[in-house]
Symmetry: C2
Subunit: 187 residues, 2 copies
Amino acid sequence: MSKIPKPPSIGKNVKHERSVQKLSLDELSTASGVSKAMLSQIESGKVNPTVATMWKIAHGLSVEFNVLMKGEGKKIRRFDINRKADITTLDADAAGVHISVLSPVSMAEDLELYLLTFKPGATLNSQPHYPGTEEFLTVLAGKVKVSAGENETILNAGDVLVYQCDIEHHIENLAATESRIYLVVRF
Amino acid sequence: MSKIPKPPSIGKNVKHERSVQKLSLDELSTASGVSKAMLSQIESGKVNPTVATMWKIAHGLSVEFNVLMKGEGKKIRRFDINRKADITTLDADAAGVHISVLSPVSMAEDLELYLLTFKPGATLNSQPHYPGTEEFLTVLAGKVKVSAGENETILNAGDVLVYQCDIEHHIENLAATESRIYLVVRF
DNA sequence: GAAACATTTTTAATATATTGAACACAGTTA
DNA sequence: TAACTGTGTTCAATATATTAAAAATGTTTC
């Protein structure tokens, strides 16, 4: 009924990571707590390892679990141009805030790019995003006050702020001129 | 030697996803190809499932594999400020290109942010990055020519380009003035 | 109430993931 | 040559993940 989705070859990934870090099977075995016999069989693709063991291996390699689960990946080499005229823009409910959604629709699902323009005194109130979401905020011009939960700070042009935004957060323009912000949201 | 990293409770995640989609064990069993007995034991945390079975379950639930691997997650809510004065800057070998590394060191490993400034006529040649790497390029000001492999395009202020950079790529400033580029690199 | 059904849990048997030890294969060193 | 490393691979034994079928637990219907 359903076509086979995609079987990942975790063995290749483990072997690659291990060779990059120049570790022997013995070393990785002691570092991860998985027998070197297992490691050998996993790398040669003779077994379907348990998530628990893969977890231990990922820890032993000190890499994210997902790294070892990489599928074949996209073959096509993308080169997508998104012209200024085609970029969707919108004005926040609170007047004085202009938002450009830079991310093309075809883009990766877990990353979004925005360019924000604040008129003097303008404020943007954002509802909590999905849990685990992080925002990377760069002030290109002006001066703004950012608050998320109990945290709050004032940023000038050139400053960068990283914060989790799975909580209500606010951005307020303190400059007498327009403030511009580059915003990267990762889910 | 090494402190326990974090054991994820995948059972909870599977049960949650299944209840959200209002599926019975039988339905998910036929949809995923995993016996309902397995599903029951996985949800009650009595077994350490194989990655292969978890993969099938993820497909049956039509969710990303990672979704079912959600650990307890980071408790601490980050709010890291990186002041302009603290941001590391460097000049490329080719004169006329100034690079600001916006990403704080404490930042996620799979994401990097750069702010590039090109003097008139300046060019930046980049060696291939790690396979699968993608760059999200936003032209803040000026006019540049970007080429990656056989692809090439000219971008003006406000344009956005998404391309894979696991290949040699070049950025050249065509404007008579300085060009500024915001660059997001994801691994 | 019980009969009929849907859903989840447990049971017993099988398949296989995991392990420690033995093995094979290099590259030193003497 | 042999002895001694370090490397990765197979071997038999054990632990356990996985399954089909049965038992248990609701949930509806008459």
